[in-house]
């Protein structure tokens, strides 16, 4: 086939293209991922019973806020990275900012209490639940987000890490509804750790899943 022939074929009778498709698909995927994560958490784990307590409710907001900020920042970068060549124009290190902020808060919290309390503040009683639940709840959002990212034809396959980060953030925000632990150092270690784990898994599966 001659290239001129192909150009004729491609350019004849073209239809206008929806330029918002990438943004919209990702928006739909992330919203759907959030809804599915919330459903998974509520149906399988249940919402913690003591939410009417103002202190508990305040902490719930901190946890949801952290997951949401992580997911939101990740979304911002995903919008760029998902497209061909998008990786060239972003300050990706900013995705670490919410983690750093939480670490600082946890540090301040730890300094203000005797060292003998540190173990309990950091480990809590339910670290295993957190460690397992966040990555598992993240699976479905990750799948939906990966579907949308793939349609944007990423040329940098590390984009999978960003998809994992967003799914992890969403999952952490959803898990917060169940999570019985109200300690900043606990969140700093286990929420951050599991979101990072989701990011690494996303990076590991990305090249295979996102290839187009």
């Amino acid at each position: 086939m001659n290239t001129e022939e192909l150009i004729d074929l491609l350019s004849t009778n073209i239809e206008p293209v929806d330029a918002q498709k990438v943004v919209r698909n990702l928006g739909v995927a992330i919203t759907a991922g959030l809804v599915l994560a919330l459903l998974t958490c509520i149906v399988t784990l249940g919402i913690r019973p003591d939410l009417d307590n103002p202190g508990v409710f305040g902490f719930l907001l901190v946890k949801i806020g952290f997951g949401s900020v992580v997911a939101f920042v990740g979304w911002h970068f995903l919008l760029k990275h998902a497209r061909p060549g998008g990786e060239n124009q972003s300050r990706i290190f900013l995705t670490a900012a919410p983690f750093a902020a939480l670490m600082v808060l946890a540090g301040v919290n730890l300094i203000s209490v005797p060292a003998s309390h540190w173990g309990h503040l950091i480990m809590g009683e339910d670290w295993l639940g957190c460690l397992l639940s966040i990555p598992i709840i993240a699976v479905v959002p990750f799948a939906v987000i990966t579907w949308a990212v793939r349609m944007a034809a990423p040329t940098n396959l590390h984009t999978g890490a960003l998809a994992g980060l967003v799914a992890g953030g969403i999952s952490a925000a959803a898990y917060a509804l169940h999570c019985p632990n109200d300690s900043v150092p606990f969140i700093a270690l286990w929420y951050s750790g599991t979101i990072v784990l989701c990011t690494l898994l996303g990076a590991a599966f990305g090249p295979r899943l996102l290839h187009w």
Partner: protein
């Protein structure tokens, strides 16, 4: 070129055609120089040019009109080159990252034949889809005329053309794996 792309995205076929022509020249020069550098023959260049044009076309919705066009095209061209080198198991996809301007620095060279045969590729599409492409894309009938000939709705024709081009693009990529 960016203006041509933006007009093309809005449905301006003449602008889009001019864009693809200009791009094909740049892509050809780019692939020839890369293939030589990878120790390969330049006869594979035309296949890659066509594959990239297909990719540019089927993924044109991913171009963000507020951004420059060159980095977007370059990323696709490089992606297809890496794929090509990986699939043909040559020097493991060792494509250096250069400035995106490199792809535009090269001059166009005349088009040649690729190893792909359009008729054979079309023959692998389902009948409905193939006819839609045949009428709308090759015989240049309007969507209305094609719909009348096929006896289906205009939107069905549009969907079939869209699917057909995507399928062709996929078939071309598969072809190379063999």
């Amino acid at each position: 070129m960016r203006a041509l792309m933006i007009a093309g995205l809005k449905g301006d076929a003449a602008a889009y055609r001019a864009l693809l022509s200009e791009l094909s020249g740049h892509l050809r020069a780019y692939y020839r120089s890369k293939l030589v550098r990878a120790g390969r023959g330049t006869e594979e260049a035309e296949d890659l040019v066509q594959e990239s044009l297909m990719a540019v076309h089927t993924r044109r919705h991913t171009y963000d009109p507020t951004q420059l066009l060159t980095p977007w095209v370059y990323a696709i061209a490089r992606y297809k080159l890496i794929d090509h080198l990986r699939q043909s198991r040559s020097a493991l996809a060792n494509v250096p990252i250069e400035d995106a301007s490199e792809i535009m620095a090269a001059d166009g060279e005349p088009a040649t034949e690729s190893s792909l045969d359009l008729n054979k590729l079309l023959a692998r599409l389902p009948d409905k889809v193939r006819l839609a492409i045949q009428y709308v894309k090759i015989e240049r009938l309007s969507v209305v005329e094609a719909a009348a000939r096929c006896g289906i709705s205009e939107s069905a024709i549009k969907i079939n053309v869209h699917r057909g081009i995507k399928k062709l693009s996929a078939v071309i990529s598969q072809e190379k794996m063999k």
